[in-house]
Symmetry: C2
Subunit: 381 residues, 2 copies
């Protein structure tokens, strides 16, 4: 397949690009280094220095023999994106090209405006460029489980049938998020669903939970091919951050009571899910929505688990409950459906102490690079 | 009260500004003439030439004795908006400052991008400027009934209680609109509801149906004070357009079968509703949503009614069904609640043949100004 990956330099974009390239697909990866720029500006640099996207692609080609095409540019710039779409004629577009941090989006006005402008302009441009240059292409959009928030009823996969006063209809499942970033993802859904209806586009929205991991078969071949491993309060996902804290001897920072429950998945499963979505297009006029996670934990569960894994490696790991810097329920009902990807063939990699230990071992050599100033919450809302 | 009206030069913004000023409130009206500019660029100028906002305010002051403050600037420019908010310290902000045309938003990429960028940036700025400069101020946002679309269950006022698999919760009523413009209004709702929850703001979202009319007690005092009366396919609302067609001897252009049902209201009732909302703030942390219309008609009903009114004035009025330029249901279930504003004290002005005749009589003197090229649909989707 011809596959265009927008945000191809990201934590998920880069391993996705390698994953498809290593399976013989024709991959083009696009990025404008927005996340790198924001991480630099906010003192949130990743634990392991990553070569730039062009260098990474070159290293990957040397090591694996699989090439991938790189375009440096901004997906919020419509003429650029349309020309890439026209030249590459993708059958699948994977759209990761957004400002991905919830705390960043809550930092102040400028960050809120950047997040809103960038994420919405990018999504609008993707939809229009598909229509103008590759109308039968399948758009795979990374959404987030965070769009649903924590409602008091079961979370379905994107849609809900509502019976009301004796009549029934099917709707987008109601969404209500906990940060501006997550709210822009709700807006993305509104936008994509609108244009899917109007123009008979085909789209898959992958409602992903927090991802952990840094190992993939391709990345494991050379340290320079590892995904960007952020561990800070802005760009680091929670499991990765806890593991770095365990290595650094910093208490694991649980926000509030720690009863917050989310659906998690291994980076390996993100790659599987995106591939399964790509190889099963939904058909014209369809917006298929899949909840992308493999298991649910509370923050307390995760902290205890990382603590046990740390102890097994003779690390001294403490847990510290901080006043919650976020406005969120710290204990709540949470029962989200997630059968769609399993039905497509997903074979989950559940979290184990072994996985946590192997990640700790990979992080240990970088212990001296850990910047303790990045780890505690710097944004409150 | 100190009232800030954003989009104070608009079809509704200008009569709203006069309405509050004439009741002794301290009114500031803000506009950047975006709609005037777009109307000029698209050959969609109003039937009756309107002085600019500063001139109108001056004329109004001379005639009525009531002054109102005018600021020319762009609400999408945050420093401008925050400084206005800081200087005027409003108790109520009425937010009309959006690109208001559905067909314009569907005209092409540039128009879509402008609509999305302008409407979302403006709403983000309003919310932030309130928080930074006037946090207890009550935001009255003009939404639209079009956000709901035409679902097959009854439309409630903004919220719905969902019972699902034995559990219950309350959500924003699911929204699904028929144009990009209407979709940006859904996104506005997502955005405002998010910040209301986070920051305890207070907001009222008025989900308005199509408005008709050009007469208000203040506007009737001088022709130069009339609202902008658009009759074109982009900026003209349907009743106003039909009346101009009746005067011009152009068949009334019914799109498709004409079974499309919407909730309509007289411009006088818009003014009442906004005033009722302003004088009954919902309280901190509340997003109150009110469906703002007084009666439902099909397009066929309206066309037949305008035809009868025209005949009573010896106008020859024909009705022409055009192939629908829009993607929309031409016959559908439609049962929207609208008790909230009645409970606050709204006394509706229902549509009558007398009202239609009086509007026809006001339009007749401008018959020679009618530009027939503007009336037929120029945008298809």
């Amino acid at each position: 397949m011809r596959i265009l990956i927008l945000g191809g330099d990201g934590y998920l974009g880069w391993p996705t690009a390698m994953h498809f390239a290593a399976r013989g697909h024709a991959v083009t990866a696009v990025d404008n280094y927005l996340r790198r720029t924001l991480a630099l500006q906010t003192r949130s640099e990743p634990l392991i220095a990553a070569p730039d996207l062009e260098q990474r692609a070159e290293i990957f080609r040397e090591i694996s023999g699989f090439g991938l095409d790189v375009r440096i540019g901004d997906c919020a710039d419509y003429p650029f994106l349309e020309s890439v779409m026209r030249e590459t004629q993708p059958e699948v577009v994977v759209h990761y090209a957004e400002q991905p941090s919830a705390p960043y989006s809550m930092r102040g006005y400028s960050e809120a405006a950047l997040t809103l402008r960038n994420n919405l302009a990018t999504t609008l441009n993707v939809v229009w460029a598909i229509r103008e240059a590759a109308p039968s292409c399948h758009l795979i959009k990374l959404g987030t489980m965070g769009e649903y928030g924590t409602p008091d009823i079961e979370i379905e996969e994107g849609w809900i049938e509502i019976e009301h006063k004796g009549r029934r209809d099917r709707f987008l499942y109601p969404r209500q998020a906990g940060s501006l970033y997550h709210t822009t993802k709700i807006m993305d859904t509104d936008l994509i669903w609108f244009y899917v209806r109007m123009w008979n586009l085909q789209a898959t929205d992958l409602m992903q939970g927090p991802v952990y991991g840094l190992s993939t078969p391709e990345a494991d071949r050379d340290e320079r091919l590892l995904p960007n491993f952020h561990y800070d309060d802005l760009f680091g996902t929670i499991v990765n951050r806890f593991l770095v804290q365990a290595v650094a001897g910093i208490p694991l920072t649980v926000y509030g009571q720690g009863g917050q429950t989310r659906g998690y998945l291994n980076l390996l499963d993100t790659l599987q899910c995106v591939e399964l979505a790509a190889s099963h297009p939904p058909g014209a006029g369809q917006l298929r929505i899949l909840n992308q996670f493999t298991e649910c934990f509370t923050v307390n569960d995760l902290a205890a688990w990382v603590q046990r894994a740390g102890h097994s490696l003779d690390l001294r790991v403490e847990i510290q409950h901080l006043k919650n810097p976020r406005k969120e329920a710290e204990k709540h009902f949470y029962q989200p459906a997630h059968s769609g990807l399993l039905e497509l063939g997903l074979r989950p990699h559940p979290l184990t102490e072994e996985i946590l230990c192997s990640m700790l071992k990979r992080i240990l050599p970088f212990k001296n690079r850990i910047d303790r100033e990045q780890i505690y919450p710097r944004v409150r809302w």
